[in-house]
């Protein structure tokens, strides 16, 4: 197949040049086509509709202000907030035998002890997210301690608090994208510590383990829990 004798080389080279020229000419429109303005990257509709991020381990909610000790506050009116514990805290302890809520009229201070979770591993305090006075207690949560774990931001709310310094309190709380980043950061650190295989995680990526304090320290889960909820007496701020 030797087409390299001189006479045949003329035609062979001519064809090669033509092909090269055709390539260069065609390249320009091709490049422009490929770089054409794309429509918004199409995300499968199901994912978009879900709204929340399917792979997040810990659920957050809109319109909520988070305290680094994993209590949350939702402003109902300029001087009334609903208060509860967040999904992280719920998954941290896993299950509650009961919950000790302060009585109506009890004063609360932001960053001070507010209520106590009674778990299998013992009593674990949580800090109040706001200053104020307890206005109402969620008796449903008291009688059914599953509720704050399963619906922490909805039916599982814990207290309604009347406060006068809510605006100032809000400066110490996390919300919106800051809160999300805080939670993602926490999740990342947990992931790298806890191990990443599917055994700990549902098919769709949700965290399977309830009470992962028990996974982190089977001997003393209450120490781990207090550490995260900032009630281990170590004096800590996020």
């Amino acid at each position: 197949m030797n087409s390299h004798e001189l006479l045949t080389i003329y035609s062979a080279k001519a064809i090669e040049y033509l092909i090269a020229v055709a390539y260069v000419v065609l390249f320009i429109p091709f490049w422009r086509y490929v770089n054409g303005r794309p429509a918004a990257a199409r995300v499968p509709a199901a994912e978009r509709a879900r709204g929340g991020q399917p792979t997040d381990w810990f659920r957050m909610a809109e319109g909520i202000l988070f305290h680094p000790g994993h209590a949350w506050a939702r402003v109902e009116s300029p001087d009334l907030v609903t208060v509860g514990l967040d999904d992280f805290a719920g998954k941290l302890v896993g299950s509650l035998s009961s919950i000790d809520l302060p009585a109506e009229g009890t004063p609360l201070a932001q960053g001070e002890r507010a209520w106590t979770l009674q778990t299998r591993a013992g009593a674990i305090d949580m800090l109040s997210p706001v200053d104020g006075t307890v206005f109402a207690v969620n008796h449903a949560a008291v009688s059914s301690p599953r509720l704050p774990i399963e619906a922490p931001y909805e039916e599982g709310w814990l207290l309604k608090v009347r406060g006068r310094r809510l605006a100032a309190n809000a400066n110490q709380l996390l919300s919106g994208s800051l809160a999300r980043r805080w939670m993602e950061d926490l999740t990342d650190r947990l992931r790298s510590h806890m191990g990443l295989e599917l055994g700990l995680v549902y098919e769709d990526g949700g965290l399977m383990i309830d009470g992962f304090a028990n996974v982190l320290d089977p001997e003393h889960p209450e120490l781990v829990a207090k550490h995260f909820l900032l009630t281990d007496g170590g004096g800590s701020h996020a």
């Binding site: 087409s3 055709a22 794309p38 918004a40 990257a41 790298s192 295989e197 055994g199 550490h227």
Partner: protein
């Protein structure tokens, strides 16, 4: 947030359980392996590993359909040649991120390097299975240098590049082991390693093609061209880009638990970007193939059975993915980009098999067809590679950042 001393003391767990079993008890870990994928993998290994042992005990003739007329077969075409091409994502993405400075692609550079490292590692494994006297592998490396041979150059380049890839991956390993000083030191070498890696990759990707320069008497004229080294190099880039697209798409589904929400959105951008690059390179490669045809003057051969097969390879697996990818990128259709990339990957594998097996000895009497044992062996080697990938990705910071370290 500072950790109290009591909290730190209160997190024991032996190193084995923490690092290797990911914090689970042995029983739980074994139970977590009861998935359909693991069952299939176990089946493949159950058959494949004994076959490999049999091959080493009784020789190549007992296991393969290789013959005096057909000395190279599936193991060379698939395990070695295709394996090296598909592992090209390592040097391609490393160039993109570290040399061209396109940090937007950072999220996929570590998986690409891991794929590259494991790819080359298991190429060497596959080669050892194919070599008649694998224990002599050090000979051309240490003291008997056949410098006139392209294969000599390939052997050296692959060896050196395997070391480079190991070093490029080591930051992830050191982060996992908590060896901070070592990790910082190695990260400082990134540019040097990348340049060295690109150089070595250029050489051996093209040299694997140059191996076939020696066989004009055996290789069908449509596939024999003096430009085969350039073709192999360019198609390796295509394979590398496409493999990263495919592999990242699969990883994001399979290892969902590791990947945060923002990373998913990032991957769409990355996939589109890589798809665009792959499409452009495919366009150029298509014309390279036409040029090779013009150079050989073998146009008439297109109208033969081998010619039709050649057209299938070039039109169906080069031109088609080029167009698919271009269209998909323009429309922002990430799923279609992944499909196009898969076709491109298949096309490169097909090309390697064509050159080494299908179009090789095309004019000989007895044609070679791989035996079932060869197929099972290749599957076993690939399966072990995939399992290793999963093992590493589940434990080391490949698909996610290690929170204690700066991204590099």
């Amino acid at each position: 947030m500072h950790t109290s001393n009591t909290a730190r003391q209160a997190l024991p767990v032996s190193w084995v359980r923490d690092k290797l079993l990911m914090g689970m008890s042995l029983r739980r870990y074994l139970r977590s392996l009861a998935t359909p994928f693991d069952a299939v993998a176990a089946l493949i290994l159950l058959v494949g590993v004994p076959v490999i042992i049999y091959r080493f005990t009784f020789g190549l003739g007992a296991v393969t359909n290789l013959s005096q007329a057909n000395p190279w077969g599936l193991w060379i075409g698939l395990d070695v040649l295709s394996g090296v091409a598909l592992a090209a994502g390592g040097f391609t993405l490393a160039s993109v991120v570290y040399i061209f400075g396109l940090k937007q692609y950072h999220a996929v550079v570590r998986p690409a390097i891991l794929t590259g490292f494991l790819g080359y590692f298991f190429v060497v494994v596959g080669l050892i299975v194919d070599l008649g006297r694998p224990w002599k592998l050090p000979v051309p490396l240490v003291y008997s240098w056949g410098t006139g041979s392209v294969m000599f150059e390939v052997a050296w380049c692959v060896c050196l590049y395997l070391i480079v890839l190991a070093l490029e991956f080591s930051p992830a390993l050191f982060e996992w082991l908590g060896l901070r000083k070592l990790r910082e030191w190695i990260v400082g070498l990134t540019i040097a390693l990348t340049v060295f890696g690109v150089m070595l990759s250029t050489l051996h990707q093209s040299s694997l093609g140059a191996l076939f320069l020696l066989v004009p008497h055996r290789l069908h004229p449509l596939w024999y061209t003096p430009f085969v080294p350039i073709h192999f190099f360019v198609s390796a880039i295509i394979a590398g880009l496409s493999m990263v697209i495919v592999e990242s798409g699969l990883s994001h589904r399979i290892f969902r638990n590791q990947i945060g929400a923002s990373a998913h959105a990032d991957l769409e951008y990355i996939t589109l970007g890589l798809g665009k690059a792959a499409s452009v390179v495919l366009f150029a490669y298509f014309f390279l193939k036409i040029q090779a045809l013009a150079d050989s003057g073998a146009w008439a051969l297109l109208n033969t059975p081998y010619g039709y097969w050649y057209l299938v390879e070039v039109l169906g697996f080069v031109l088609l993915p080029c167009v698919l990818l271009a269209h998909a990128v323009r429309r922002g259709n990430v799923a279609l980009v992944r499909a196009g990339a898969a076709v491109a990957v298949a096309g490169v594998v097909l090309n390697r098999l064509n050159v080494s097996v299908v179009a090789m000895n095309w004019n000989a009497g007895v044609r070679y067809v791989p035996s079932w044992m060869e197929v099972v062996t290749s599957m076993a080697v690939i399966t072990i590679g995939v399992l290793t990938f999963r093992f590493i990705v589940n434990r080391m910071p490949v698909l996610h950042q290690h929170p204690a370290y700066q991204p590099h």
